[in-house]
């Protein structure tokens, strides 16, 4: 018994000790980090920046579920998690919490077990920022996702997005994004028409994206969703990812603390505007394009994807050109997938993955161009 306790204690020490040198030296973990300064600090900043999103997740999912259930005449969701709740405004928070906490706990447990497993087998320390993928992944989930679904998706994202590459700064794309994409591919139904135990009307829980794809902005406004509602994040979708306002706050903080590369965010907005403008000329009849770029920027998970997934400091492109490319391609592709493929769930995650996988090529070209420029300058110099 004692031996077993000692083993677990040693495992936990490995998690805790990992943060220690960084805590003392401050900059020792920064070797592979491409943006920002110190790895633990950057991870903490990302967690802080996304706190408004978590607040929105909790409140919004409760709000949406309560309203959807009232729409079919039920007082509250007949589910063991909230049978005891009063049907008042305050219940929004409690309903949301009851949805959020189990998902967060599952993701965190999954990540911790996998990180410790890899650390033990590979004889390396667990990274101080191990919580961040689980946290961001949970924000990306719609309420009502099964815990096992969340666990498998998180495990896939973490192992194939981060652990096999050797951790932060060495991987290609945000593990939270890969987890979300796994869930999207394996269980697409979780992302359209947010489920809630099958008791609420599907029509009321339709995501803003589905409404827009069906009937343009008019359909959104008919459902009582204006630009302001989308900006604040009062829409049924991946609940933590809907609030552009919270993302804006987070982005401002992250840029101020220089944890993310601002060129990715600026490039993303430019790509979005350019994509809407260009596709608007090619396909003027599309219902999706009745919404201008300011609608697309606040719809669905776009803002969240840009700030927290595309600009993940663990895999930022190394060159300025690469950063502009990553943001611009992600923004333009997100619009392109929305306009050309309205039958499927919102394609922001695929757009970011595609842009991130071609970012090394953009880096390569930027380096090649810089080298050529320097060579020419040196040749011109007598």
């Amino acid at each position: 018994m004692i031996a077993r306790d000692a083993r677990w204690w040693a495992r936990w020490r490995r998690v805790d000790d990992a943060a220690e040198p960084a805590r003392r030296a401050g900059a020792s973990m920064a070797v592979h980090l491409h943006a920002g300064t110190r790895l633990p600090a950057v991870h903490l900043q990302i967690m802080l920046a996304s706190v408004p999103l978590a607040v929105m997740w909790v409140w919004n999912s409760g709000y949406q579920l309560r309203h959807a259930t009232q729409g079919v005449g039920a007082v509250s969701v007949p589910d063991w998690r909230n049978l005891w709740l009063p049907g008042a405004q305050a219940a929004d928070w409690m309903i949301g919490m009851a949805q959020f906490l189990p998902l967060l706990a599952t993701s965190l447990a999954c990540v911790l077990v996998l990180e410790m497993l890899f650390a033990a087998v590979r004889r390396r320390a667990v990274e101080p920022g191990w919580m961040v993928p689980a946290w961001l992944f949970t924000l990306l989930l719609p309420a009502g996702v099964g815990l096992s679904q969340a666990m498998f998706a998180m495990g896939f994202g973490l192992v194939f997005g981060k652990l096999i590459f050797g951790g932060a700064g060495k991987h290609l794309v945000s593990p939270a994004l890969l987890g979300g994409l796994y869930l999207r591919t394996a269980h697409p139904e979780a992302f359209v028409t947010a489920p809630a135990g099958g008791v609420v009307s599907a029509e009321l829980m339709q995501t803003a994206w589905e409404r827009l794809a069906d009937g343009g902005v008019a359909a959104l406004q008919a459902a009582g969703i204006g630009w302001m509602e989308l900006f604040v994040g009062q829409e049924a979708s991946a609940f933590g990812a809907t609030s552009a306002l919270a993302c804006l706050l987070g982005a401002a903080f992250l840029m101020w603390s220089r944890a993310v590369a601002w060129r990715i965010l600026a490039g993303g907005m430019l790509g979005l505007v350019a994509g809407v403008w260009l596709l608007g000329m090619l396909m003027p009849a599309s219902p999706v394009l009745t919404a201008g770029w300011h609608w697309h920027a606040v719809l669905g998970a776009f803002a969240f994807g840009l700030v927290f997934l595309a600009a993940d400091p663990g895999c930022t492109p190394l060159t300025r050109g690469g950063r502009w490319f990553l943001g611009g391609a992600a923004g333009a592709l997100a619009v392109a997938i929305r306009v050309l493929d309205p039958a499927h769930p919102d394609g922001v995650l695929q757009a970011i993955l595609l842009a991130a996988l071609f970012a090394p090529l953009a880096d390569h070209l930027a380096v090649w161009r810089a080298a050529r420029r320097r060579r020419r300058r040196e040749e011109a110099w007598p």
Partner: protein, 202 residues
């Protein structure tokens, strides 16, 4: 015009030979360690595809389809079963010519591509494009557009893949996964990303 651009776009993105159909994987994995070589290979594939698909289409239409030999007094002959042999023969001949040209004018690229250049003869992406051409009933111009698009899509995939593999040199990969193992996983991730584009085509 839009029609042909649509065919090129579909062949490059929604039906990318390497990442949607997973064709030509042997060359894709083998000649993607360096971006420079991958660019050369990509250009070779574009050249071969743009030539073989329309030429194969011409041969198929003029010699193999039922009734094609009516001018020789054989209107009821149907030689479509010969298409594999004919396509491979034409591809082999073209690759030979390409190899001679490269050896004469770009010997460095010729050496870098090594055995994989003659292997383009039996590359399934190249034969696959010609077979898709038959399956989708493309006309002469359509097959030229499709051949170019298919080659360009494959080239784009292999160059992007090579850039990723160059960066992965700096990663800390478990010993058992180094090299081809990780390459397979990254190719899978790229394929997952391209699956998002699968709904874009008409």
């Amino acid at each position: 015009m839009t029609h042909y651009l649509g065919i090129i776009f579909d062949a490059m993105f929604t039906g990318n030979l390497a990442l949607t159909y997973l064709l030509g994987m042997c060359t894709f994995l083998a000649v993607s360690r360096r971006v420079g070589t991958a660019v050369g290979l990509g250009l070779a594939v574009i050249a071969v595809q743009s030539l073989t698909v329309p030429l194969n289409q011409l041969l198929f239409e003029r010699l193999l389809t039922p009734g094609a030999l009516a001018w020789a007094g054989l209107p009821e002959v149907d030689l479509r079963f010969l298409k594999l042999i004919l396509f491979i023969g034409l591809i082999a001949a073209l690759v030979q010519v390409l190899e001679m040209i490269l050896e004469r004018y770009v010997p460095r690229l010729h050496a870098a591509l090594g055995v994989y250049l003659p292997l383009l003869t039996v590359n399934c992406a190249i034969l696959g494009a010609s077979l898709f051409m038959v399956q989708r009933d493309y006309s002469g111009l359509e097959s030229a557009a499709f051949g170019f698009g298919a080659g360009a899509g494959w080239a784009l995939a292999v160059v992007g893949f090579a850039a990723i593999r160059e960066r992965l040199v700096y990663s800390d990969v478990p010993a058992g996964l180094r090299g081809l193992g990780l390459a397979f996983i990254v190719a899978g991730l790229m394929s997952l990303a391209f699956s998002g584009l699968a709904g874009l085509g008409g």
